[in-house]
């Protein structure tokens, strides 16, 4: 049976078609104004799962980036401290070489070298206690406030290193090992300089101290090189994380955001459709036989 067409069915159909058209228009308008394709999970459950994962990865990456910049500051602090330490150590060695010239040096000259060495030791001690944001960069996770006590004892716990996470499975050590660089207690560089100073003042030849100073300098340079190596890792991580963050943002955008030009085109088309529907409806619903009867 071909279904009967009446004014009521025409009105009903027109209403439904206009409503559908308007719904589609509202949907597109919503997308165009919010610029989001994915406003609720049921829009696309699969994309929602991906979007949640990507957002989680983005947050993690942002945290790694913060960790990296924090680690960078630690390493930079350690690096500049070690650079100054090396300069001071060169001066210590020069002065020790001068002081070893027993024949040419008067006791007064040796005393003045001893005084300068004493000053250099104090500078070294203060450099060894360099801090970043209140934490010593040479003493691992120690909370003593200084890496080396006035009696040259090291406050860091053995094996306790400061690590910064730069990836799900990767951490980078961002402190420098103060015990390895400066030595501890009686074998520390500070005790060594103290010994040199007392030798100079007591008229003992300081030549044997030179070898010890050279050993210490090797240790310091070695530690500096390690800090440099870690700095390289941090720099690489910075770049990798920036690239990763861009890629993640692109993924998120492709999952959640609308293609604006497409939406605007669709919206325009839909607009035309809607207007056509209204115009046609107005013409179709108007006439009845009554208009033509006397």
């Amino acid at each position: 049976m071909i279904s009967r067409v009446t004014n009521a069915t025409q009105t009903l159909n027109a209403q439904r078609n206009l409503q559908l058209s308007l719904q589609r228009q509202a949907e597109l308008y919503d997308q165009a104004s919010s610029r989001r394709l994915l406003t609720k999970p049921s829009d696309d459950p699969t994309a929602t799962a991906s979007a949640l994962g990507v957002r989680s990865d983005q947050a993690t990456t942002a945290q790694y980036q913060r960790n990296v910049s924090n680690g960078d500051a630690w390493l930079t602090t350690a690096d500049s401290a070690l650079t100054s330490v090396e300069t001071l150590m060169h001066r210590v060695r020069d002065l020790t070489v001068q002081g070893a010239n027993d024949g040419a040096m008067s006791p007064e000259a040796k005393a003045s070298i001893a005084t300068e060495l004493d000053g250099l030791k104090k500078s070294l001690l203060s450099l060894a206690n360099t801090t970043y944001l209140g934490r010593t960069v040479f003493a691992g996770n120690s909370d003593a406030g200084v890496a080396f006590q006035p009696d040259y004892s090291f406050t860091g716990a053995p094996g306790s290193t400061v690590e910064r996470r730069i990836g799900p499975d990767t951490t980078v050590r961002v402190d420098a090992d103060g015990a390895a660089a400066f030595g501890t207690g009686a074998s520390s560089v500070f005790a060594l300089i103290d010994g040199t100073v007392s030798d100079l003042r007591g008229g003992v030849n300081v030549t044997p101290r030179l070898a010890q100073i050279d050993d210490r300098m090797k240790a310091i340079v070695g530690e500096h090189a390690e800090v440099g190596g870690r700095q390289t890792r941090i720099d690489k991580a910075t770049d990798a994380l920036a690239v990763g963050a861009n890629a993640l943002e692109a993924q998120r955008s492709s999952l959640e955001d609308v293609d604006l030009s497409k939406v605007i085109l669709d919206l325009k088309t839909q607009d035309v459709n809607y207007q056509t529907a209204i115009a046609v409806t107005a013409r179709v619903l108007q006439p009845t036989l009554m208009d033509f009867l006397r």
Binding site: L12, S42, A49, L52, A59, T60, A157, S160, M290
Partner: protein
């Protein structure tokens, strides 16, 4: 045939045409009345009198026309189809509405959802790890943790509120069903007496059909017509309306989601409390299924399942964070501390709370690794990533609701399509077409004029016979 027989024939024509015009008038004025079914005057020709006796003489024409009744041009099959489809669309649309509200309370995906807060929480642990023992990052961490707990509670409460709101509207739907059933029973009585008195009950039938359709939308059911013009409405196999009697239903069971597991919300017969009605469809069935308690396989009512999901997530979060937190040591050396606590007297999502109140109670480092070690904090911050991430449980929860909502919406759309097509077919058969009525009006008008003309012709013929006969040559 008697002398005046033709006058009577013309008179029956006038009556029939008048009745036809009346029917057209009724149709036209009710063209936009909801549920109105178009009517036609059924007429039939009156046959000629049977000839009796020897001198009956010749063939005779019929005796005119009779009005047999006023037909209601409905189609019981189409009406039944409308009821069946609207029962299904009532069921699915209630469920789809509930799920749509539920998923919009999640605020996912986006910056306002729980997942975003969770990520802030893990990041705060990362910052604490970078500056272990410092006041500022610890303060941020405690703030983010408190926000996370609040957001979980807000989410849970939103589900709880939605449950209560739906439970309230279930009461409303049951009351609506009872009202409609009582009205159908009342109409049954009036229709029966109208029909018994030989009157037309068409308008009453229209009203009853509207009511049975709304009963179908609410509770599904089957409409079974009886000989005397009444209908029985069966819901879940039992009579909601039987002749002129309506059986009331009532909503029983929990009025709070917390009690739903022990005493699920259900609809029962008022005369037989304790036995739930197994509804086949309708929005009441949709609401009851949405209000159902959660079960072990995750196929219970959508709202209770969502609440269970919140609870399960709160438990996982607390357990996973605590497990790592307990291995750490605070700056003062205390170990084995919990970060989250769950009040067992409440649902886990509501009972979740943050234990530490200051930097001194957060276990950030491993024992013996120095006072500013942040390795434990770092390990906690890693709970949010990797294949076994806590976030994944939340994402799975969100996606589960999304999929359910998506499916339910599709079903609802399909059911709506079926309903639309059924309603269209019904309306196409039953609605008034103005053009058609105009045509009918014209033809009845002409029929009336024709009958009147016949009357005039007979009148003139009789005039000739009575007044002008036998006066030849006068």
């Amino acid at each position: 045939m008697s002398t005046f027989g033709a006058l009577n024939t013309a008179y029956t024509g006038l009556v029939a045409a008048k009745a036809g015009l009346d029917a057209v008038g009724q149709n036209l004025v009710n063209a936009n009345t909801p549920g109105y079914t178009r009517q036609r005057v059924a007429t039939s020709a009156v046959p000629a009198l049977a000839s009796a006796g020897l001198f009956s003489g010749g063939v005779r024409p019929g005796q005119g026309v009779t009005v047999d009744g006023i037909q209601r041009l409905d189609d019981a099959g189409l009406d039944a189809r409308v009821r069946t489809t609207s029962a299904l669309s009532g069921y699915t649309s209630t469920r789809a509405d509930a799920l749509s509200t539920l998923e919009s309370s999640l605020n996912e995906p986006g910056t306002n959802g729980l997942s975003a807060q969770l990520q802030k929480f893990w990041s705060a642990w990362g910052d604490v790890s970078n500056q272990a023992g410092e006041q500022a990052p610890a303060g941020v961490l405690l703030g983010e943790a408190a926000s996370l707990v609040t957001q979980l509670q807000t989410g849970y409460r939103a589900v709880d509120d939605q449950w209560s709101a739906l439970r309230g509207s279930l009461d409303g739907m049951a009351a609506e069903l009872n009202t409609a059933a009582a009205a159908v029973a009342d109409l049954n009585g009036r229709i029966r007496s109208s029909l018994a008195a030989g009157q037309s009950a068409n308008e009453l039938l229209d009203r009853r059909d509207v009511l049975t359709a709304s009963i179908a939308t609410l509770a599904g059911g089957v409409v079974r017509p009886n000989e005397d013009g009444t209908v029985d409405v069966l819901v879940g196999g039992n009579a909601l309306v039987s002749g002129t009697t309506a059986n009331a239903v009532k909503v029983a069971g929990a009025t709070r989601m917390a009690d739903a597991a022990a005493d699920p919300a259900r609809v029962e017969w008022a005369y037989r409390p304790g036995a739930a009605i197994a509804l086949e469809g309708g929005s009441i069935a949709g609401a009851v299924s949405t209000l159902a308690p959660a079960d072990a396989s995750g196929t219970g009512g959508a709202l209770a399942e969502a609440a269970a999901g919140y609870n399960a997530f709160a438990v996982t979060l607390a357990q996973r964070v605590n497990a790592v937190h307990q291995t750490g040591t605070t700056p003062t050396g205390a170990t084995g501390l919990d970060f989250f606590a769950i009040d067992a007297s409440q649902p886990a999502a509501l009972g979740l709370s943050v234990v530490p109140t200051g930097v001194g109670q957060i276990a950030t480092g491993a024992a013996g690794a120095g006072g500013t070690d942040g390795s434990v904090a770092d390990a906690i911050s890693q709970l949010g990533t990797g294949p076994d991430a806590v976030d994944k449980q939340w994402a799975a929860f969100v996606v589960r609701i999304g999929v359910a909502s998506h499916t339910e919406k599709q079903q609802s759309d399909l059911a709506d399509l079926a309903t639309t097509s059924a309603v269209n077919a019904q309306v196409a058969g039953a609605s008034v077409d103005l053009d058609e009525e105009n045509m009918n009006m014209l033809s009845f008008q002409h029929a009336y004029q024709g009958a009147a003309r016949v009357m005039t012709a007979v009148d003139e013929a009789l005039d000739v016979l009575i007044n002008h006969t036998g006066i030849v040559g006068r």
